[in-house]
Subunit: 331 residues, 3 copies
């Protein structure tokens, strides 16, 4: 595996889930793979879960880790040719990025969407430069449009819970495969679409019935929606759901590019409370964290035994370890 | 050992001092204990000695270390239930802290007193949350009211020097056990009470004669003063002392809660100079560092052969290693 | 090796170059040397290449690494005796520096020239304090006047390329030893002299014909210029050159101390373009990076097959590893 951005990069999901199980059961078993290999983690944006879980995963694999915090505002690389660089850009990407590649074996990059220029964000300009010029495998730690380490951890969590439910004869699920609903929920700030984009991409590839529900104007990019059923009526969407994945996102600008990155609604009726959960099939609540209670979800729902938010976070270590392991195997 | 805040957490001090000796003699002998174990060090406040010494100690033990710097001002966790989180608090502690626990085996936390709300500080609100919700052993790297890694290092230093003095027949100390004096000294800024609190707690538990001296109004909290002799006349207190531990602290607010955190005196007659030391029994000068010369102590005293400030700092590595070793042994 | 500041610290260069070759061929072969040894890297200034390459080198050697970022402005150590420290300096160097030495085996320091006080900068006041008071070997990661890890990497790069050229019978170089030219080039900001100083010092010690060229007023300090040929006519200097090392520096204040640190010229005719390179003997372009295109060098020159800037950066790992290995061998 030379890059990790999309679900396709991982190959067949059943094999990946099997490998996640093995890694989780024995997370220090692969240290020969990582010996004398260095992961460079570059953060253009703040990180808590991703930073800790990815670093932990790399250390599980016996790797050395170097963390580089780059102030997003200070990262002013010149990208054009023929320019006299006498302004605030002190280095050209054609030097900066290959140099970083010199000192490591794998590069992991976090670089959020700016939410002001849809074309720039959806072209994945920043991480694309790392893929093109670093000479190293590149792993996304949330880019402008995708967050695959989160989506993989979410899939592992759904798979574990579904397997557990099916293993209990007294609690036979009513469906052959789980119904998973991604639902928009309100927020006070404009957030990127990376998490819902990747979650949609991964659920479309997984063995689940997948539904996306959001207010008008919040339609995700078609390349991520894929064949998912889209339902504007949240109540209908949640009916009989086994897993409810709540997340806010700002306008993806699909129907009206001028609205890209804007907040179109703060409709509190979309907040997941116990009434919403009552419409589901004893469904489980999921969220990538950090989560704002009272906006996305109520206290009782997120604290209930049917909340999976902490297991999802714990599985970030596992998803990162499987991904790094796969990359190490191809070095 | 599941938490390390108070002297009682360490069990019998003689055994701990013996273990410190063994660790110091062979600090890399316990790497099997720390293999594949991760220490997460969380700093809400700046650190030089604590950061370096604790990290070194963990690496001595073969542990992996992840350092997380959290801007104290930016750490705005919601702690209430039933709140709509549409303000500046982006995460609830009930999610944030368990998640940190997911990615490590031991958590070490530094979080200073705010010095504005005595009840909040002395309730140890922040580190208490880590103990309650992280699911991991928690080691104090200076909290609102205690700094036990420093106090343990100080005790080790006193023990080493006293043992050395007793081993020299020509330099037989005049006391059976050392007289240790904790003396307040002036400072230009309002400082927390964590260091004197812990020092008092540890000296009360140790085999020493312990005296505390400070101006009126600077009385430490009774739970730390314990059975120590308290003497308002610094000269009397220092007479015949073997060890002089100087430290500034702001008003602990014991007699007048409204004065909590305030500077009540800058009386320069409390500064430890050679005259002060002449009242002692060829006493040794101690301070936790950083120290402001001319306020706490004069140049000649801190630079004299009877200054122990550098050995104290060096023993921070040892105290941290013993503590982490004890925690690892109970994992 | 107890300190690494000057070319003399490394001993005979042929032996060092041989060792660099061995290290590069097998960079993980010396991990027994670094086992349980700790490198403390202290940065008073930002760093990308130096930070990554030195950390990588230390990890190659099996060392533990602790990185300490010190805000240059915040590093206010008192250096005088007899002062009442009631101002903004919270610690005296006589405590701060020995304490850092307590927790590591080797100290590496970056501390740039302030460019306002020539005497202070050229006395190497800051790093000199580390040498004097830390009790540990000190390695320069760019000081006020030297950047020897860069110069050593540059020498390795020249040596590799010259060896490669000589190994190819069809491409026999016209000289017995390479002609190396250090040329000033314009820049929009005032830069220190550390890189040209060290490059000059190392080239004077190496088996090359060395020429320095710069406009009037930019003369480097005589102790670095040594026996180099100095040529004010850039065209004449570059004629027949095998290696062109371009770099900007501000006025070294040799002829007029009042001009120290100033920009005396932005003469664009000194920018290295393809015409400049045409004057050379199919010469190779070198620069330490980061480089501002259009000022120092044109796009076509730095992107040409005769540009060595990326190999130079890659060799930073090797020069750091040889240096740390040498220091470890004398511990």
């Amino acid at each position: 595996m030379k890059t990790f951005f999309n679900v396709q990069d991982l190959g067949p999901l059943q094999a990946a889930l099997k490998e996640a199980e093995e890694v989780k059961a024995n997370r220090f078993a692969y240290q020969q793979l990582g010996k004398n290999k260095t992961l460079l983690m570059i953060f253009f944006n703040n990180s808590l879960r991703t930073r800790l879980s990815t670093q932990k995963a790399a250390m599980n694999l016996g790797m050395n880790v170097i963390v580089l915090d780059v102030n997003a505002g200070a990262w002013k690389l010149e990208t054009e040719r023929g320019v006299i660089m006498d302004g605030d850009k002190s280095e050209h990407l054609l030097e900066a990025i290959p140099v970083m590649g010199c000192y490591c074996d794998i590069i992991a990059v976090r670089s959020f969407a700016g939410l002001s220029d849809r074309d720039y964000d959806y072209a994945e300009t920043i991480v694309g430069q790392f893929v093109k010029y670093s000479g190293r495998p590149v792993v996304a730690m949330e880019t402008a449009t995708v967050h695959p380490l989160q989506a993989f951890a979410d899939l592992i969590t759904i798979h574990e819970k579904w397997t557990e439910l099916n293993a209990n004869p007294s609690n036979q699920p009513s469906h052959k495969r789980p119904k998973v609903v991604l639902t928009w929920a309100p927020h006070c700030r404009a957030l990127p679409q990376a998490v819902p984009n990747s979650f949609a991409q991964w659920m479309n590839a997984a063995d689940v019935d997948f539904v996306i529900t959001q207010p008008e104007g919040y339609e995700l990019d078609p390349k991520f929606v894929g064949d998912a059923r889209v339902e504007y009526d949240q109540h209908k969407a949640l009916e009989d759901a086994d897993f409810v994945y709540a997340k806010n996102w700002s306008c993806p600008g699909v129907k009206n590019k001028g609205n890209y990155g804007k907040i179109l609604s703060k409709d509190a009726s979309w907040t997941i409370d116990s009434e919403h959960m009552s419409w589901t099939n004893y469904g489980y609540f999921m969220h990538c964290l950090p989560v704002r209670r009272g906006l996305i979800v109520t206290d009782d729902v997120i604290e209930s035994p049917h909340s999976l938010v902490i297991p999802e976070a714990a599985n970030r270590e596992i998803s990162a370890e499987v991904v790094l392991k796969r990359v190490l195997e191809t070095l």
